[in-house]
């Protein structure tokens, strides 16, 4: 099966696992509309902001758990199982029960347009809680498109230290999202 346009998700994630960052970005960008589609179809009363929060929460979970996919297995059963688990979980955290079947995910109408989250979004609240250096690295790479090498120079850190700080920062973001659910 193909993503809307472009190479199949399997190829993208396989390339990503071998270090191709652009393939990984394309993979996540292709997955986001699927998650958004299912979140909106289930959460009509939640509002687009909360739905986008759920999209981000799910993408972070996919990112944290990307090592649980085996290269030789098809990616969609893996992906849909994660999306289903996280979307149901995210709705539960917001006091709602939703049902998501794996078949619904295969049939969902992808929602391409994201909303711009406001200052009050979950993402902003949790980034504000990161240690200042990790927060700065996550923002600089995400918002300004800075590279690891550039940041290493600006922050007077080694590239490895920047990579580790980014990794830990994202891990913490995912964990804090999870923590908000408790």
């Amino acid at each position: 099966m193909k993503s809307a346009n472009g190479p199949p998700l399997d190829d993208l994630l396989r390339a990503a696992n071998h270090g191709d960052q652009r393939a990984y970005a394309s993979f996540l960008a292709a997955v986001a509309p699927i998650v958004r589609g299912i979140a909106r179809s289930r959460g009509s009363g939640l509002g687009p902001d909360a739905c986008e929060d759920i999209v981000q929460e799910t993408l972070l979970a996919i990112h944290q758990k990307r090592h649980t996919w085996r290269d030789d297995a098809p990616v969609r059963p893996w992906l849909y199982a994660i999306v289903r688990y996280k979307v149901v979980d995210a709705f539960r955290a917001r006091g709602r029960r939703v049902h998501v079947q794996i078949d619904d995910l295969a049939d969902v109408l992808p929602a391409e347009t994201a909303v711009d989250l406001t200052e009050r979004s979950d993402a902003e609240r949790v980034i504000a809680k990161l240690d200042p250096r990790s927060a700065r690295i996550v923002r600089a790479i995400g918002l300004e498109g800075a590279s690891i090498a550039e940041l290493a120079v600006t922050l007077e850190m080694t590239e490895t230290a920047v990579r580790v700080a980014l990794h830990r920062g994202l891990k913490k973001l995912a964990a804090m999202r999870e923590g908000m659910i408790e």
Binding site: A25, P77, D116, L117, L143, L166
Partner: protein, 211 residues
């Protein structure tokens, strides 16, 4: 932060975690070795172990927990991969119970009914029911913490399988100490003791395996 910005940050993060399949054996072996050393340092191995090994029931007593642990290991690793199937591991889980049941009945049918009670009770029910869960506890926690690296979408079942793995590993550690060799003994009490650890795993799973 916009979603596309989050994606950009995530795609720059190229550090990958180690898979459960690589981490779990280390956690498991470490905890089993530590618990086993502590146990044997205090209790000592059975003196007639070498002689006992020539008897079939003893061989089965020593090996069925290992067979069970291998199958539970395979199954639990599959359970930490979203969307993965148990494949052959579901069937593999049945091998050890079949060995236990066959050993139990083979012995039971050769034993007069009046001797069943004493054969089942043996000499060391209390010790067995105490130490298998006790040795199993650190193994269970090490296993569950290793499994947190995975992504189980069925935490209760995964916890149960982790408990089965830990209880079986514990029984394998304990078995060379135990002198109750009748399958009518270990076919009941080892199974119950492993079951205690398995149920503990099922209770802890939903708490410890969330992600």
């Amino acid at each position: 932060m916009k979603t596309e910005e989050l994606i950009r940050a995530m795609s720059a993060d190229d550090i990958k975690e180690k898979p459960v399949r690589n981490v779990l054996p280390i956690a498991l072996a470490g905890a089993a070795a530590a618990a086993g050393l502590a146990f044997y340092a205090t209790m000592g191995i059975r003196p007639d172990l070498m002689a006992a090994l020539s008897q079939f029931p003893v061989l089965f007593k020593l090996t069925f927990p290992i067979m069970m642990a291998v199958a539970a290991f395979g199954a639990v690793v599959q359970l930490t991969r979203p969307g993965a199937r148990l494949d052959g591991w579901g069937l593999a889980l049945l091998i050890a119970p079949a060995v236990v049941a066959a050993s139990f009945w083979a012995t039971a049918l050769g034993t007069p009914l009046s001797g069943w009670a004493s054969a089942i009770t043996g000499d060391s029910v209390g010790v067995c029911m105490l130490f298998i869960p006790l040795i199993g506890t650190p193994i269970l926690f090490a296993t569950l913490f290793a499994l947190r690296r995975g992504a189980s979408t069925r935490p209760r079942l995964t916890g149960l399988m982790a408990g089965l793995l830990s209880g079986s590993a514990s029984a394998a550690v304990y078995a060379p100490y135990c002198t109750d060799d009748s399958p009518m003994f270990w076919g009941v009490w080892y199974v119950l003791a492993i079951g205690v650890v398995a149920v503990s795993g099922a209770l802890l799973g939903p708490r410890l395996l969330r992600w």
